[in-house]
């Protein structure tokens, strides 16, 4: 009985070793997974993970970090150059959920489209983990995520204010419950006055905006502040610069910077 047990253990160890060597070899000699990104925030995540060698194509809007704009361009949110993607032979196409109809034709090819959801900051962590798993950068992703979490938890303001965030002024388009910017404002300790609206980017009536009497009005795109000053005589009005706009509108690894931006208001 003793011998039999010993033999069984030995055989199982040999089998394990054999499979281990096999998997190691297949890992070492396998071609690395490649992908293209159609969204600036995903491009930023790939660069933050140090997996930029796997990235073979980007969208025309990807401009951070600067090296990203040197990669092959394959289109924007509406126009995707499908032929170019097929020539680049990536394993995956990364895109936002809202662009599923564009990439439907890839369902039947070798190239697999993957759609990401960005509704909260937790979604950002999930997306970082997912991309890290595909590109074998799991350790780095843990470090990255814990760094972001630490920065966000440290930057909570002590004096909560009411913030009205306007994507556009005329007509007034704001952010609703489903937008990740609402989550960012909540994490920064402030209150978004439109956080109860059940939509991504609702068009709100001007009366509601005035009635909600915000302490701070943050404006995304604008070219004239006169009317805003008349509508909100008691509020501070802030217009975002190009860089701030990019940081706040992209749910990527720089998300902690936008939390810091709001917490300093």
């Amino acid at each position: 009985m003793m011998v039999k047990g010993f033999m069984f253990g030995l055989i199982s160890k040999i089998i394990c070793l054999f499979f281990g060597v096999f998997f190691f070899c297949s890992y070492a000699y396998a071609e690395k997974t490649t992908y293209v990104s159609l969204t600036p925030s995903i491009t930023e995540i790939v660069y933050a993970l140090g997996a930029q060698d796997n990235l073979v194509g980007v969208s025309t809007e990807c401009n951070y970090p600067k090296e990203a704009s040197l990669k092959t361009k394959i289109g924007n949110t509406f126009f995707v150059d499908r032929e170019k993607i097929i020539r680049l032979k990536p394993d995956y196409v990364f895109s936002m959920e809202s662009t599923q109809y564009l990439l439907a034709s890839f369902k039947y090819s070798q190239i697999k489209p993957i759609f990401f959801k960005f509704d909260t900051i937790d979604d950002v962590y999930k997306n970082i983990e997912y991309i890290a798993r595909l590109s074998n950068k799991t350790q780095r992703s843990e470090k990255l995520i814990s760094g972001i979490k630490k920065q966000i938890s440290e930057s909570k303001t002590n004096s909560p204010k009411k913030i009205l965030y306007l994507v556009q002024v005329n007509p007034m388009i704001s952010i609703g419950k489903k937008s990740f910017i609402t989550d960012i404002i909540q994490k920064s300790g402030h209150v978004s006055v439109t956080s109860n609206l059940n939509a991504y980017y609702p068009t709100i009536s001007e009366e509601f905006a005035v009635k909600s009497s915000p302490d701070i009005v943050v404006v995304n795109f604008f070219d004239d502040t006169r009317r805003l000053g008349q509508l909100f005589p008691h509020s501070e009005i802030i217009i975002l610069s190009d860089e701030e706009r990019d940081i706040i509108n992209r749910p990527g690894p720089r998300v902690y910077k936008s939390v810091q931006y709001f917490s300093k208001l």
Partner: protein, 327 residues
């Protein structure tokens, strides 16, 4: 008969006043008349005063301007072309305005997009009218040239929207028609231009009554018939451009307001003119009231609400009194 017609003008005047009341004082936050009186004191900076002075009054004024202009422009064009399907945007105005709006949003992130829409509307309509010719003018040529320009420029607009994905949402929203603010033409100037054109049009009522007659009779009774046609078309282009300045591109009102008023008072322009402008203004004022209260605190684009209430009202009148239009 004459009494009936005056009676229907009075009814429509009250309808107009009722819609004006809804648009200014009713809504999610109702206002009393005391605030209306208080709002003339300029130092009042409370929220209610701000809402009344900076949001409700300008909206109501613009709704009236847009409604009256579109209804009148539609009436002129339907009379000149003798075609009930003629609408104010037929001379390439909607696409010209759309192109102006889209370009201004694209290049300037502009809050003044309605002014650029106005410029685009003027340029495109003048272009179409000059293509239709002055000596050898024909209304068929005008409509066909307008149609071609509309199709060409609409394709251009769609192209611009699709190529600029980050601004496409706001472009689409703006194109669906809204009462807008701009800094270049203030409400006072808008009202001034509006009243000048309105007064001018009122003096044209007798000429409109002539144009309604058959070709042969018009030729024997009015000299320069073509000149009058061209004049009315330019006039309607001006009116429509003014409506773009006030409210963006609002379809449908220009067709239904003249037709419904014809069903109410018949073809005599002395009555038709007034019924038409009151009806156009009331429809847009009521649509504005609905657009900002139906899903408060969010807002439905005005152009869509106009379509939602316009189509059923029009079909109702067609089934009741549609045979009047056959005259």
């Amino acid at each position: 008969m004459r009494k009936n017609k005056i009676f229907s003008i009075v009814i429509l005047l009250f309808l107009f006043l009722g819609c004006f009341y809804l648009s200014v004082f009713a809504g999610h936050d109702g206002f009393g008349v005391d605030l209306f009186l208080k709002s003339f004191q300029l130092n009042d900076r409370s929220e209610d005063a701000v809402i009344l002075e900076l949001i409700r009054y300008p909206r109501a004024i613009k709704a009236i301007v847009a409604g009256v202009c579109l209804a009148l422009a539609g009436l002129f064009l339907q009379t000149v072309s003798k075609n009930p399907l003629a609408e104010p945007y037929i001379t390439g105005i909607s696409s010209g305005a759309g192109l102006g709006i889209v370009l201004s949003v694209l290049f300037f992130n502009s809050a003044n997009y309605s002014f650029f829409g106005f410029l685009g509307a003027m340029v495109s309509s003048l272009l179409v009218i000059s293509f239709a010719g002055f000596r050898k003018f024909s209304i068929t040529k005008l409509i066909l040239v307008g149609l071609s320009i509309n199709i060409f420029v609409s394709a251009l607009i769609s192209m611009i929207i699709l190529m600029n994905s980050e601004k496409s949402y706001s472009m689409l929203y703006i194109l669906s028609g809204n009462l807008t603010e701009n800094n270049l033409v203030s409400d006072k100037h808008l009202l001034l231009i509006f009243f000048v054109i309105l007064l001018f049009s009122a003096f044209l009522i007798p000429k409109l009554n002539f144009l309604r007659l058959d070709e042969g009779m018009v030729f024997s009774s009015v000299k320069h018939k073509n000149m009058y046609s061209i004049f009315f078309i330019i006039c309607s282009a001006l009116l429509t451009s003014l409506s773009v300045l006030a409210a963006g591109i609002l379809g449908f009102i220009g067709i239904i307001a003249p037709l419904i008023s014809k069903m109410i008072v018949g073809q005599d322009f002395r009555y038709l003119f007034f019924v038409n402008i009151f009806l156009g203004a009331s429809l847009i004022l009521f649509a504005d009231f609905l657009s900002r209260t139906l899903i408060y605190p969010m807002q439905i684009p005005l152009g869509l609400v106009v379509a939602f209430i316009g189509a059923p009202v029009f079909v109702f009148f067609l089934t009741k009194k549609g045979d009047i239009l056959n005259d």
